[in-house]
């Protein structure tokens, strides 16, 4: 390894970014290399020079103005979900699904029955199917009661329109071809 590399290691040593093995290797090198020791002394002198002079500061007037602005401004607002907010949000989602489902069912009944009508409402049907399918996340706890309700509702809506059938065990619904 050349001295250039050890000189860079000396920079890293000052910031504690060398591994212990590298630090040991550097010490061994310094014991035998006067050029690198001179570089080490240069670094120390430069650091001493820079730290021996007063650090520049913004003028007191600027700092005072800034502190006034800070003290009079409103701190950032952080949204925190209240304990009641989670169930309320789930209830709202349920209501949206319910209304959407009713609109889908009544829309299909009013229009041409059967797969053709369903075909024009594929986005809505897809949404219901998506709600029906179990979440893919692995390692999650059991679904919340709200999530179970939403899935159950979606399943019923699909069965009502003949887009799914209930299996004998009653636990799963299966899509029939459109």
């Amino acid at each position: 390894m050349k001295c250039d590399e050890f000189e860079r290691w000396l920079l890293l040593e000052a910031t504690g970014e060398l591994t212990s093995a590298q630090a040991a290797r550097l010490r061994d090198h310094l014991a035998t290399c006067s050029a690198c020791r001179a570089w080490q002394a240069d670094l120390a002198r430069l650091h001493h020079l820079v730290s021996s002079v007063p650090a520049p500061e913004p003028s007191p007037a600027v700092v005072a103005r800034l502190l006034t602005a800070v003290r009079t401004a409103r701190p950032p607002v952080r949204l925190v979900l209240r304990p009641w907010f989670g169930p309320a949000l789930a209830a709202a989602a349920l209501a949206v699904v319910l209304l959407g489902g009713i609109a889908l069912v009544t829309g299909i009944r009013r229009g041409a029955p059967g797969p053709q009508a369903a075909g024009t409402r594929l986005p809505e049907i897809s949404s219901l199917v998506a709600m029906l399918l179990p979440e893919e996340s692995v390692g999650e706890a059991a679904p919340s009661p709200e999530a179970v309700n939403v899935r159950e509702l979606a399943r019923h809506l699909l069965i009502m329109e003949g887009l799914a059938v209930e299996l004998p065990n009653g636990e799963e619904a299966e899509l029939t071809p459109l």
């Binding site: 001493h48 002079v53 520049p56 800034l66 800070v70 003290r71 701190p75 950032p76």
Partner: protein
């Protein structure tokens, strides 16, 4: 003995509505930040304007802060502001030696410990010589030097801030030290006794 609050604790207090916590953060980081800004811009007026703007941005953008390294985030934010300003004004201190307004406003009180007037003058002169020497460095080298010596950042962080490899950051510091050693030869000679 009471432990000093960490940056993260002060940020949490500020988020909870304690504006004094942000004032404490400003006090804590002002020298580091201002030294960096002054080194990267053309004079006190520019530097003070940017210094204020940085903290106003901190107030506005704090919700985006997700890390555990407030100083690094602050320096990044400052650096972006300095670069934006340089681009906007076409001064581009990063492409060549700056003319350097390094004079201190004589109306300002000296923020240093008690020293004799003669010592104070001497130190001030030395500070100005160092500042001129640092300003004579090419932009990227100057930035590495300021981030290391002034802001005290490790090289990994400096490399991340500059968007370069750690070897490039080290090479820039290496170059800066060599250049400064030449520029401050007399001061180095006076310091021969320093290990």
């Amino acid at each position: 003995m009471r432990m000093e609050a960490t940056d993260e604790e002060l940020l949490a207090r500020y988020r909870a509505g304690d504006t004094e916590a942000l004032a404490m953060l400003i006090e804590r980081h002002r020298r580091i930040l201002y030294g960096f800004i002054l080194g990267m811009t053309e004079g006190r007026e520019d530097a003070e304007e940017i210094f204020q703007e940085v903290w106003l941005r901190v107030m506005r953008k704090l919700r985006l802060y997700r890390r555990r390294n407030f100083r690094g985030w602050l320096i990044r934010l400052t650096r972006n502001l300095v670069l934006d300003r340089a681009r906007h004004r076409q001064r581009l201190c990063a492409v060549g030696p700056a003319s350097g307004d390094v004079s201190r406003d004589p109306s300002e009180p000296e923020p240093v410990e008690k020293v004799s007037p003669a010592d104070m003058v001497q130190r001030q002169e030395l500070a100005e010589r160092i500042q001129v020497a640092v300003r004579s460095l090419p932009g990227p080298q100057r930035e590495v030097f300021l981030l290391r010596e002034n802001a005290g950042l490790p090289f990994r962080e400096i490399a991340r801030i500059q968007g370069v490899t750690i070897n490039t950051a080290l090479a820039r510091m290496h170059y800066a030290v060599r250049r400064l050693r030449e520029a401050l030869r007399d001061e180095y000679t006076e310091l021969r006794g320093v290990p």
